[in-house]
Amino acid sequence: MKKQTCDFEVVYNISLSDDYFLLKLLAEDELPNISPAQFVEVRIDGAPNTFLRRPISVHDVNYEKNTISLLVRIAGEGTAKLSQINKGDLLNLVFPLGNSFSMPDNDNILLVGGGCGVAPMLYTAKYFMNFGFSPTFLLGYKDKESILRSDKFAKYGNVFYTTEDGSFGETGNVLDHSLLNSDKIHFDKIYACGPQPMLKALGNLAIEKNITCEVSLENLMACGIGACLCCVQDTIDGHKCVCTDGPVFNVKKLVW
């Protein structure tokens, strides 16, 4: 897919919690096809400490309305600045970037998201549904209050939750969920995004259980288009760029 730079108009900016906000962005021209786990590089003008763009996954796409949604966690200065953008403002994106999750073979697929790693999972499920697959979600949060967009996720599949304090769903993190620890339930493929330690543990579990597992990584990026070689991930084939060879990798390829 051809990459492009484009000014989007902010349709809305909704605060979902202290830490998270949801942006809906309208493109002037027709959107290109976007694949699940692809991301955009957002230009955050202004602050001297947000010199570089910020990579954010595509959370949702509406091709009829020509909109892209981003689900963003306030992690530092750049995302804090972005959280203050107003309806009608313009936001410049470079997109669509990266490879994508591979197509499922059947319905036995689990979409796992931890924290802001849930962001790409919504569009992934929607995309797979369009091809006739019905995914199951396993989403991990700190507590009940942190749960994001539960209605929306429910539209695209069965949703299971873990919360660290047990205030909703099962207690612990996604790794602790019975879905992953039961002999009765089987998945053929796991797609995951979230903090590296979680992805790594999940990957090891999947390898152990002989489940194909693809993870979407969030390495620090400077360019997002394969030019700087800053975002490299060590793999069995050497250093690979997360922005072009990834963000999605089969866990079997990763050296981590």
Binding site: L52, C223, A227, L229, C231, V232, H239
Partner: protein
């Protein structure tokens, strides 16, 4: 019509906008954003004799109006460049420079020799200033003696345009520029990155796997510009200026300071079409101020 053609010591550039090594891949990465044939040229990423995996992740840290990198010359080696990459880019209608790095003089020579055979590569940029490799690299660019040694050796085997890229991490960049000029360099480019460092106060760890890395971007522009001005006054060969060029106005400042052409580096990461915007901005500036030929601007700083 504004004339933007530059005669860069024999090398004809259709305009003075080039791209900096390590920030523009092999050009192809930017084809979605930039019509490469519009560029005066581009410098492909640092190429070494042998394959290099580069430094471990993390390799990047953002700083105030700049960034640190510690890529460490990751590349597949000159043979893969010649066999696999060159065929994909040789048809591009612009000047392609190969940025050559090495750990020893012999490395540099062997690499340059192979590049010399590539018909459609009119020039190399000899990188004696990379701060991100343990041996060699920057060390060659920080003393006149070692700079002379490597340039002299490469000059013997490399028959086309030899541009030498200088390190800014020195007390007296002018003497290094003169030293490489004396050894037959056709031009100099400056600056490479400044050796810097960033620490994560929370974890108390360095932000880069290599602790230190190279600083680039807007932050360094004032120092880079000063060095270009000093060197351009002191050498007869032309100077290619770079360091923090983000806008056409920045580029104009470098021309006024004496640069015959410029390279756009980190700006490509922020605006993938930065080169084209800068090129168009230069043309606009010339029209606005009645400059008929870009060559009029070069070194024309008023006092």
């Amino acid at each position: 019509m504004v004339n933007l053609n530059i005669d860069f010591n024999g090398l004809k550039l259709k305009n003075p906008v080039l791209t900096a090594s390590g920030t523009f891949g092999y050009g192809l990465e930017f084809e979605d954003f930039v019509d490469l044939s519009r560029l005066g040229g581009f410098i492909v990423k640092g190429t070494t004799l042998l394959h290099r995996e580069g430094n471990p992740y993390p390799r990047m840290a953002e700083t105030a109006a700049g960034m640190l990198n510690a890529v460490g010359l990751q590349n597949k080696g000159v043979k893969v460049f010649c066999d696999d990459i060159y065929p994909k880019i040789e048809h591009l209608n612009t000047n392609i420079f190969v940025n050559v790095s090495g750990s020893t003089v012999d490395d540099y020579v062997a690499t340059a020799e192979m590049i010399n055979e590539l018909t459609n590569i009119p020039a190399i940029e000899l990188n004696i200033s990379c701060p991100n490799v343990k041996e060699g690299g920057m060390a060659f660019g920080t003393s006149c003696a070692s700079a002379e040694e490597v340039v002299k050796a490469v000059r013997q085997v490399y028959k086309k345009h030899l541009m030498v890229k200088l390190s800014p991490n020195v007390t007296d960049i002018v003497s290094i520029a003169q030293a490489v000029e004396n050894q037959g360099a056709d031009s100099v480019s400056l600056v490479n990155t400044f050796l810097g460092m960033a620490i994560d106060a929370k974890t108390r760890k360095p932000k880069l796997s290599t602790i230190t890395g190279g600083l680039s971007g807007s932050a360094i522009k004032p120092i880079a510009l000063r060095m270009v001005w000093q060197v351009a006054k002191a050498v007869k060969i032309p100077v290619c200026g770079l360091g923090g060029i983000m806008t056409a106005e920045d580029a104009i400042e470098f021309f006024l300071a004496g640069a015959s052409c410029i390279q756009v580096g980190t700006a490509n990461f922020i605006e993938p079409d930065a080169t084209i915007k800068i090129l168009e901005g230069i043309e606009y500036y010339c029209k606005k101020y009645g400059v008929k030929d870009i060559n009029e601007l070069i070194g024309s700083l008023r006092s």
